[in-house]
Amino acid sequence: MEFSVVISYFPRLLDGAWVTFQLVLLSIVLGAIFALPIALARISSSPLVRVFPFLYIFFFRGTPLLVQIFLVYYGASQFEVVKESIFWPILREPFWCAIIAFTLNTSAYTAEIFRGAIQAIPVGEVEACKVVGMTRVQMYRRILLPRAFGIVLPAYGNEIILMLKGSALASTITLLDLTGMARTIIARTYTPIEIFLAAGVIYLVISMVIIAIFKQVEKRQNRYLGPINVKVPDKG
């Protein structure tokens, strides 16, 4: 083992980690935005509305992310129609292809998490909203979505970590994310174990930071569930 290569290439690994960070952040934000309407459509009372999100979620959760990323990057660019369309400047870039694949993938998973959370809210609360005369929009905006947000947090934190780990696949379409950078370094130093281990440690640190952040947010969001400090007046 020659761990001196790790030290000399560490700055480049950090460059890679920065790309990884951008990939994960963008996909997670875009994924959550897409996931909300998908989740709401998924619990619609009309079977016709329900079937599309069902198929969408089924496809993206039932196939490997690696297949999805290759389909977007190499598959789509096979067609002249795509190359002549206005989307080509975006689809031309591996970075945006990765973002598209990751966003589609994570939105399917996130939609299921959102659906579970919305359905986990007791019926009584929905009924209470109706009784006080809230409209549907008001009910979702004021009660259901904020409540769902609190319920969703632990599962959502997991999904972000899964996305962080999945983002390593960006290296297969020429992106120099943390894994891609590691592979490029190894192409010159031929020290796979040392460099991969170093990259592994960086991933581990990032995921631990994410976990810590979520623990804090969870604490804040669900603070009403904690012990209530009500001063009980002394019995006189």
């Binding site: 490997p64 290759f70 991933y203």
Partner: protein, 229 residues
Amino acid sequence: MIDLHGFGDQLLQGAIITVELAFASLVVGLILGLLGASAKLSSIKVLQWIANAYTTIIRGIPELLTVLIIYFGATSVLMSVASLFGYDEYIEIGAFTAGVTALGLTFGAYATEVFRGALQSIPKGQHEAATAMGMGKVRKFYRIILPQVWRMALPGLGNLFLVLLKDTALVSVVGLDDIMRKANIAVSTTKEPFLFYSAAACMYLILTIVSMVAVHYMEQKASRGIKRA
């Protein structure tokens, strides 16, 4: 079977490898999961510590990286361990073994949590009742605890298996001839990425559906005892 420019058979062979890899990893993962959960619930601090380190590390590192590290690194580690015992021959870690190890480790780390939850959900009274009836530790575990843990863990394990099934695609990166690598080879010859990656996606979907049906059937079987008339 569908011809796919002559690569249909190759893809099917790849599917067999994918299924073999998934099942072998499942066995390794289930064992590791049970061990991990027992360690986490044990009163011995060192065991708890090891199990926690195991699940934290594995769950924080990309599966792709785990596969790569084991493929390139396990040989040297194993050989240096083996030489401590006086064994100096070369030990080979093929793509399949590396894949089983990496995916088994990953499955085991997540299964540890599933099993832990299931083990903890068994009321203390049942332990006491079994002991009162004169069962030994092993018999109690085998007759009373395991069947119940199995029932409660099944939904969670089923989900993990679906994740595992998809993760097998990563082992193609170290040259295992699974569905994904066969698709890559076909693409390199035919220059038809859309066709072959779609075909691969369909094969994974079929495997997913079959697994879901199987898990559903097993869940019904496992919970037949608690169904009310």
